[in-house]
């Protein structure tokens, strides 16, 4: 029962392989087998959002996904999105606004923000807070995070607006 299975995924654009027990979560597989430690574990029950990753283009809790379930999936973690520049303006806005303190919730916040702005390019502050409803932060009190996402949305909109 504890025998391991081979799992193949595309992680951050590259083939990845791990040899894991069926009970190993995707979060633990990413962190400990693939050494992608930017995704964090906060509750192992989907209540805090620290473990969010992109799985087949949607934001998903890596703690609620078995690694074996993710076999054949395309996974993107904060490292991958960061390296290909997909988060650059969000990261810059977070940095300027100090929308992070300890940083433990931050990769999850960036994932949520990334998906939100793809689905709703110019969300209201209320809609931003709504999207963040499953992302727990104990440090910032959320306002700076809302500000940073709102700023990024506005900048993207004005970058696309005709001159």
């Amino acid at each position: 029962m504890s025998s391991r299975l081979r799992v193949e995924m595309i992680v951050n654009g590259e083939p990845a392989e791990a040899f894991v027990e069926p009970r190993t979560s995707l979060a633990d597989c990413l962190r400990h087998h693939l050494r992608l430690t930017g995704t964090h574990v906060g509750c192992e029950m989907g209540a805090c959002g620290a473990c969010l990753v992109m799985q087949d283009d949607v934001v998903s809790h890596a703690c609620l996904t078995l690694a074996v379930q993710a076999g054949g999936s395309r996974i993107e973690t904060v490292e991958g999105l960061s390296e290909r520049g997909a988060l650059a303006d969000l990261q810059a806005a977070f940095h300027e606004r100090n929308a992070l303190q300890c940083g433990f919730c931050t990769s999850g916040m960036l994932m949520t923000a990334h998906e939100l702005l793809r689905r709703e390019p110019l969300p209201s502050r209320e809609r931003i807070r709504d999207a963040l409803s499953g992302n727990y932060c104990r440090c910032t009190g959320y306002e700076a995070i809302v500000d940073a996402i709102e700023t990024t949305a506005r900048r993207r909109a004005s970058a696309q607006a005709p001159a």
Partner: protein
């Protein structure tokens, strides 16, 4: 015409500037290095078999089956680890009469709270360790738990600990003036009986450590998610009989602490012990369930207080009884009495008050230990005091802001000693209140409240004033015998290319410590702040110091860095002067260049000077040694604490049909002395406020009568999330302290200290129109409905 440069315009003027944090970029890229991210060679994983009972005798332990399960390397019970680790006792000498029994890494004869670790299981993976822990058979004889403060103090109460004659860890009374006389002369007396919910920290990163014992040199390295690596260096060395110089504690990136990660936990000691036993690195990460059951709890108080007032609204006297429920043991090394001690000493603090009596009872319970967490006793004292003030205002028909203004300590009274012996250098109580009044447009809000009430919409406005202890001296812990430093040390060095490395004993958990230290060093030296690298958290590479607690990083750490920078600057200019054959006083440093003080002509760069010192010492003038590394320690003198002050306001709307409370807005006007970085101060305030909002509406640990925690998960213990929290408006007043050149006080806890009190007052303000009031936080919908008589 060009205006003369203001202080903020001159080059390298960083103090007072809102600047982002250099060390935040890697956190944004997923390159944080938290303890669980670290893998060491041959590392093993620790799990525990724990008590399911709040109180029980351990009759027997059978780990035979567990020991043979896959991946299991070692199993240990209490007696075995007790041989390796000297027990610890959570008392301090200056709390006279305080008592608490010795504690051990694992339970010995009895278990004292649900979750108390009994057996340690070490395996190749955490999952295997948990499988084996589940297979450990422990034979318990359940005993009656001690649940409830009144139950614990009843005449026939069982005494929890052998050899004690009661269930009080500590008791004290304070008295000043003639309080009964004052009450007898009062026109009115208002009273409160307030219940405060027990909290748990719920940091997103749980407690985490890796203990790595190397037997050859008997050297221990601990990667520890702690605020205070120096304290743990001392604790591990003393309790495990190791040389202090061979104990290294490394506090890297920490995922939230707020005080929780200051205290000694049995699991920490068990982790070190298991590494000693095996000679291999041992990792322990508390999972969320373990966190709820075993992290320090806090804020479990019942406060009965009374305020005597004159007809004109002057505060004449105050009486307080604070009963606080702790755990089965007092925490170590900071005790479980400090929170209550602060409550009885901070009651009434912002006001002119002489006649006072306070009584504190710190009561053992069959629950997990409690200890210091953001704000400590301030939120309780503030909420209780400010509730009394609002009641007095209502009783006398005086506006709540006005009654405060009439009673605040005034500017001509400083330095001022409170009725409880706290000494204020200088506060800005009225100035903050005036600023708040303008910032929130108080008259407009009152008018709007009245108009909406006529339409059946019930809004409330609540105010809460706080004073806050920061920059603590040894009066806090040192005098009690604790090895907790109240000073800091800084080593500053110039690198060969002229950059600056700063190793300092204050620590970073995301509040921005490294950033503000870098700002101060760069500002005082005259270099660009990008050229300064600040290193913290490693006992091996930084001087011994106080690290992070009680808002000391900016005030004490900052002053340490400032003085170190001045020392280094003097050295640099001395060398430069000798090389250039000028007086040091004729030179200055600007953007890393040594320049003429007058005229600002460039002479040579810091890099050129450093290269000469390091590589061409043969060219230096005779007698010039070239000390480009300096060490500087600083201990606060003068006032025992640097008190800050401020005032909060909360605007709420209460749905009187459902009992639901909406937080519409929150304001804070605060004075933390000289502000180093307003961006960081504002965000500390916001984060602190939201924790206080959690206290006001959501957070409490709920127990059944057998001491079982009923809501030990993030689904059931309700922490505030983004939709429940409002935008927060912040204003500042600056009253620098003269005890340091920097003038900075602390700000990390101010948001939490008054937020829950402001909301409590706001909700009561809303309910007053319905003739209802509420005296318990969190203010759940059911409690509001009960207050309204609807349920």
């Amino acid at each position: 015409m060009n205006a003369p440069l203001s202080p903020l315009d001159r080059p390298n003027s960083y103090i007072g500037k809102a600047l982002p944090r250099p060390n935040a970029k890697r956190l944004l890229a997923g390159r944080g290095r938290y303890v669980d991210d670290i893998q060491l060679p041959r590392m093993l994983h620790l799990a525990f078999a724990r008590s399911p009972y709040a109180h029980a005798r351990i009759v027997g332990v059978d780990a035979e089956a567990a020991a043979h399960m896959p991946g299991v390397r070692r199993i240990a019970v209490g007696a075995e680890l007790a041989k390796l680790c000297a027990p610890w006792v959570g008392t301090l000498l200056h709390f006279k009469g305080m008592k608490s029994p010795p504690q051990y890494p694992l339970a010995l004869q009895r278990v004292f709270w649900v979750g108390h670790p009994v057996v340690a299981v070490l395996a190749d993976t955490r999952a295997q360790a948990e499988d084996a822990a589940e297979a450990v058979r422990i034979d318990f004889e359940p005993l009656a738990p001690l649940c409830g403060m009144d139950e614990a103090r009843a005449g026939d109460a069982q005494i929890l600990h052998d050899g004690f004659t009661d269930n009080l860890a500590f008791r004290t009374t304070l008295e000043n003036g003639a309080v009964e006389t004052a009450f007898a002369a009062a026109a009115e007396v208002v009273e409160v009986d307030l219940v405060f919910g027990r909290h748990t920290p719920a940091t997103l990163e749980p407690r985490s450590l890796i203990a790595d014992f190397e037997p050859g040199e008997r050297a221990l390295t601990v990667h520890h998610a702690t605020q205070t690596p120096y304290q743990f260096q001392d604790v591990y060395a003393r309790h495990f009989g190791l040389d202090e110089s061979r104990v290294r504690v490394i506090a890297g990136d920490i995922g939230g602490s707020f005080g929780m990660k200051l205290h000694v936990y049995p699991e920490d000691m068990a982790t070190v012990a298991m590494s000693l036993l095996t000679g291999r690195p041992v990792k322990y990460i508390a999972d969320r369930g373990e966190s709820f059951l075993n992290d320090i709890h806090l804020r479990d108080h019942r406060v009965r207080a009374a305020l005597a007032v004159s007809r004109e609204g002057a505060f004449l006297g105050m009486k307080v009884v604070d009963d606080t429920a702790i755990g089965a043991f007092s925490a170590y090394p900071r005790t479980s009495a400090v929170e209550g001690n602060q409550v009885v000493r901070l009651m009434g603090a912002p006001y002119r008050l002489t006649h006072y009596r306070g009584e504190l009872n710190v009561i053992f319970q069959s629950k997990t230990q409690t200890s210091q967490y953001r704000g400590v006793g301030h939120p309780i004292a503030c909420a209780a005091t400010e509730r009394l003030v609002d009641l007095a205002a209502a009783r006398l028909g005086i506006d709540p802001l006005e009654i405060r203004r009439r009673n605040y300590v005034t500017q001509d009274m400083y330095p001022h000693t409170t009725a409880t012996g706290y000494r204020f250098e200088r506060l800005s109580l009225e100035a903050c209140l005036d600023k708040l009044h303008r910032l929130m447009d108080y008259p407009a809000l009152r008018a709007e409240q009245g108009a909406l009430r006529a339409r059946g919409v019930h809004r409330g406005i609540g105010i809460a004033t706080y004073v806050e202890i920061t920059n603590p001296s040894p009066a806090f812990y040192g005098v009690g015998g604790a090895h907790i430093s109240a000073q800091d040390g800084c080593v500053l060095k110039v690198t060969p290319s002229g950059e600056i490395q700063c190793a300092i004993s204050v620590t970073e958990q995301g509040q921005g410590t490294e950033t503000i230290i870098g700002q101060i060093v760069a500002d005082r030296l005259g270099v660009e702040r990008e050229r300064v690298r600040v290193l913290t958290g490693d006992t091996e590479t930084t001087p011994h110091g106080g690290a992070t607690w009680a808002c000391r990083g900016a005030g004490i750490g900052g002053e340490t860095a400032l003085q170190a920078a001045r020392k280094l600057r003097d050295n640099i200019l001395g060398i430069a002067g000798a090389i250039l054959q000028l007086e040091a006083a004729e030179l200055d440093i600007e953007n890393g260049e040594i320049v003429d003080r007058i005229g600002r002509a460039r002479r040579l760069s810091l890099g050129e000077l450093a290269a000469l010192v390091y590589f061409r010492s043969d060219t230096l003038p005779p007698g010039v040694q070239g000390e480009l590394t300096v060490a500087q320690h600083f201990a606060p003198k003068g006032f025992p604490f640097a008190f800050t002050n401020g005032v909060h306001a909360s605007l709420v709307e209460v749905d009187v049909e459902t009992g639901f409370i909406k937080l519409l807005k929150h304001w804070v006007v605060e004075d933390c002395g000289r502000i180093i970085n307003p961006l960081l101060v504002d965000e500390q305030i916001r984060g602190g406020v939201v924790q206080g909002l959690g206290a006001a509406l959501f957070e409490e640990c709920l127990y059944d009568d057998q001491g079982q925690l009923l809501n030990g998960s993030l689904a059931d213990y309700l922490v505030p999330m983004a939709c429940e929290t409002p935008d927060i408006v912040i204003g500042h007043v600056e009253t620098p302290t003269r005890d340091t050149e920097l003038g900075a006080k602390g700000c990390g806890e101010a948001g939490t200290s008054a937020a829950s009190g402001a909301v409590l007052n706001a909700v009561n303000d809303a309910l007053a129109a319905k003739g209802a009031s509420i005296s318990q936080i969190p203010m759940t919908p059911e409690r509001v409905l009960r207050a309204l008589g609807v349920v």
